[in-house]
């Protein structure tokens, strides 16, 4: 009986958490390079509509995934160009990007409301997924769930073990020093922003192709903001962000099941939780001067003017 209940719950937790993983991992790379892009929500929703529209037109959700990543990337390019080449304020531009993205996606998605698509297929290697309990949970997910794990591993390796990851962190830590050593601060940041955009787009694509294979206006419903909060919650570490995403994703799902069991926790409290927890974590890591300086990129949100 427990198995019957727990397995489906865990399955929905995975679907609820995967978009958060993509968006948060992408934003970690962006922030580690010293750029604060508050437009995650906007990039996600544009990724969602892009992925959905292309899937409707082509009938192939895999092409839809690529389209979602590309839509997020295009939107982040606008942000990157404005903040890195025209030196506009990152906070204001990021907020504008979210507002723009939400409106723009509604415009684009107008004709797709109510349409249906083939959702992203679950991989189903029958000999493995037949294992009771564990099988469907671990081996019968769609490919993006595995991709989200893979990206977490890759980004961890990139940031902590590779030379270019070190360079990226250096740019976020002290852009003047990085410039004088000879790294192209603006280009590195632009690449990071584009990566973050593509990842947020993937997160959005997952929403409209797998989580709920439909297009609904404003369907990202604040997940971009949760992803942003996750980055701080995770103190800019990919694995912590991964588990944080599952924690936050889990909270939303457990809330539904709890109501099913008649445990009446007001949903408002549960939707507050991610932000409350983030604030508590932020307070905790900020208490230690050394730790906050080691984890938070020192140049976060500051514009860089070469030759100036």
């Amino acid at each position: 009986m427990i198995i019957e209940f727990v397995i489906p719950a865990l399955l929905t937790i995975i679907t609820a958490s995967t978009p958060l993983v993509f968006a948060a991992i992408g934003e970690i790379v962006v922030e580690k390079s010293g750029v604060l892009n508050l437009g995650v929500e906007g990039m996600m929703i544009v990724g969602a509509v892009g992925a959905f529209a292309v899937t409707v037109k082509t009938g192939d959700p895999y092409i839809g995934v690529i389209a979602g990543a590309f839509s997020g990337l295009l939107l982040s390019f606008i942000f990157g160009f404005l903040t890195l080449y025209l030196y506009s304020n990152q906070v204001a531009t990021g907020l504008a990007l979210t507002i723009f993205g939400v409106g723009f996606s509604a415009l684009l998605g107008h004709e797709f409301v109510g349409q249906t698509i083939n959702s992203l297929p679950k991989l189903n290697p029958s000999f493995l997924s037949d294992i009771p309990g564990l099988g469907p949970l671990v081996f019968a997910q769609d490919f993006m769930v595995y991709l989200s794990v893979l990206m977490t591993i890759l980004v961890t390796w990139f940031l902590m073990r590779s030379r270019w990851g070190l360079v990226l962190r250096a740019v976020g830590e002290n852009h003047d020093a990085a410039h004088s050593i000879g790294f192209s601060v603006t280009l590195i940041r632009l690449l990071a922003v584009l990566f973050g955009g593509a990842m947020a787009g993937l997160g959005g694509a997952y929403l409209s192709l797998a989580h709920t294979p439909l297009w609904v206006e404003n369907m990202s419903a604040g997940r971009g903001w949760i992803a942003l909060a996750l980055v701080v919650f995770a103190s800019w570490r990919p694995w912590r962000a991964f588990f944080g995403a599952y924690l936050f994703g889990g909270i939303t799902i457990i809330q539904l099941y709890a109501q099913g069991f008649g445990v009446d926790v007001p949903s408002q409290i549960l939707s507050m939780l991610p932000y409350l927890v983030t604030i508590i974590v932020l307070v905790m890591i900020s208490r230690d001067d050394f730790r906050i300086r080691i984890s938070a990129p020192a140049c976060l949100g500051k514009s860089f003017h070469p030759y100036g």
Binding site: R163, L166, V167, R169, A170, E173, N174, D176, A177, A178, H179, S180, I181, G182, D289, F290, R293, I294, S295, P297, A298, Y307
Partner: protein
């Protein structure tokens, strides 16, 4: 046969908005030559080397590298040519380890092939001890400079640019660095050397190019000059050496430290252990020591940035102030000149007037029931600028826009005008040109002669010998007993600084007071 110069500059010109940083500068550096670049702060030395290294782009002029006309548009290109640079303002990443910082500054190939061993080798060969795993933010200024030097030497450059490399090194460290530089020069490496220490230039350099206000004023052989004549060429006027007329005996103690102990709350900080000390009115007491031996912690505790227990561990004007903050101490007549000018001594992105207010409002009564007294503040700031010869476009200029020497003069002026009884200064002339340094030292002496107690924490022994009456050495958080300057030899101070002999107060408290 005529040798090709390693580097030749023809007519380099660079303008910043409102400043002519370099005007038509030409110079030649031969292979193996140690070439000094001299000038006061703001004379354009740093700009010139930045143009050579590709950090800045010259507006016009030609750079010829080993006989070929070359465009150095980025530091990467400079490094590929074989130009290495040690910056005056460190290009370091605080939140990263020493090793990561070094890896970032060297080529990919070098970074892969056993970088740790190379770091250890270079740092032991040149007497630059470094722990590769430490985070930079836990290091002192002197230790940070070592990273820069090691990073540069790892690349086997054929032209090495050094922007004030010795300003924070001990005499012994400087000596071993000079050995290295001379060896490099014999191997054919050219060195472009910027320093304010003119006797070093005389000892080390083969040629000196002198800049004043962006113009080239002279090229000479420093061996045929005296430090004084070099300084006068730089300034374009004669130099006055600080003079000390000690005619009256010292007054009563103004500040007392009683068995002051302090546990550093930063990892890798140095704990202070049982420091006892007194500085009398009219006395200048110097604390020498190698960077990272507790100077930073001592300064924090003295200024009230960190509190110390018990309260009676610091006594000012018969009041126990160990547990009071900086403003309470200021109101008792203490003033502070911290080591870091930008960020500690002044807020970089605020105007001079606002910066004057921030430290002066208690004693100069610049606030009125919480309201700014704007006119008085502006008068105070303009007084500092005129009385202390600060070169700036006015009281609204940002602190960050002033050169190091000028900002330091401003900070000193700001503190001195408050008419203090106790002055605590740390590294007062670090990175400051000869003229401004002499001026600052003279004002410290004048203050003492007017009866103030002056405490100077410095790594520059020459400076201490020029101005102090009493000297002690801090080593691993312990202070040696104060000695009259006449009673202690330079060698002994050097040995105390290196920990070769220990003369700590734990064994004989209050000895010599």
């Amino acid at each position: 046969m005529v040798l090709t110069p390693r580097l030749e500059l023809i007519g380099i010109t660079k303008r910043y908005p409102g400043v002519q940083a370099n005007n038509n500068i030409s110079l030649k550096v031969m292979p193996g030559e140690i070439h000094a670049l001299l000038g006061e702060n703001g004379a354009g030395k740093s700009t010139l080397v930045k143009c050579i290294y590709g950090v800045q782009k010259a507006d016009s002029g030609t750079l010829i590298w080993e006989g070929k006309k070359t465009q150095v548009t980025s530091p990467n290109i400079a490094r590929r040519l074989g130009i290495g640079m040690v910056f005056q303002h460190f290009s370091l990443f605080d939140a990263m380890t020493v090793e990561e910082n070094i890896v970032l500054g060297v080529s990919n190939k070098l970074a892969k092939a056993g970088i740790k061993e190379k770091i250890t080798e270079i740092s032991s060969r040149y007497g630059l001890p470094l722990d590769p795993q430490r985070y930079v933010q836990t290091l002192s200024v002197g230790e940070r400079q070592r990273i820069e030097v090691v990073r540069c030497l790892l690349q086997n450059p054929s032209l090495l640019i050094m922007d004030e490399p010795t300003s924070v090194l001990t005499p012994q460290e400087t000596e071993s660095l000079f050995k290295t530089l001379n060896q490099l020069s014999k191997d054919g490496v050219s060195i472009l050397y910027i320093s304010h220490k003119l006797h070093e230039i005389k000892e080390l350099c083969h040629t000196a190019t002198i800049l004043r206000m962006g113009n080239l004023v002279d090229t000479c052989n420093p061996k045929n000059e005296t430090p004084r004549s070099l300084a006068e060429k730089m300034m374009g006027k004669s130099l006055e050496k600080p003079t000390r007329i000690k005619n009256s005996p010292f007054g009563k103690p103004q500040i007392l430290l009683n068995n002051l102990s302090y546990k550093a709350n930063q990892s890798y900080g140095t704990d202070l252990k049982n420091i006892s000390l007194e500085v009398r009115g009219g006395e200048i007491l110097g604390i020498a020591g190698v960077a990272g031996n507790g100077q930073r912690e001592l300064m924090k505790v003295l200024s009230g940035e960190e509190l110390s227990n018990p309260p009676e561990s610091i006594v000012v004007s018969e009041k126990n102030v160990g547990n009071t903050g900086p403003n309470d101490r200021r109101s008792l007549g203490m003033v502070f000149v911290p080591e870091e000018r930008l960020g500690h001594g002044a807020v970089p992105q605020m105007g001079l007037s606002e910066n004057a207010f921030l430290s002066g409002f208690t004693r100069m009564k610049l606030a009125n029931y919480g309201f700014l007294r704007k006119i008085e503040t502006d008068i105070y700031a303009s007084n500092i600028i005129t009385n202390y010869d600060v070169k700036t476009s006015g009281i609204r200029s940002l602190a960050a826009s002033l050169s190091g020497g000028n900002l330091q003069k401003f900070i000193f002026g700001r503190e001195i005008i408050q008419n203090p009884n106790i002055v605590i200064a740390m590294q007062p002339t670090w990175g400051v040109d000869a003229g401004s340094a002499a001026y600052i030292r003279q004002s410290l002496i004048d203050l003492a002669e007017q009866g103030a107690a002056v405490l100077v924490i410095s790594q520059d022994l020459e400076e201490l010998y020029e101005i102090v009456d009493t000297i002690c050495v801090i080593y691993e958080g312990k202070l040696s007993s104060p000695k009259q300057l006449e009673d202690i030899s330079t060698e002994e101070v050097g040995m105390l600084m290196g920990g070769v002999i220990i003369n700590s107060q734990e064994d004989n408290p209050l000895n010599g007071i």
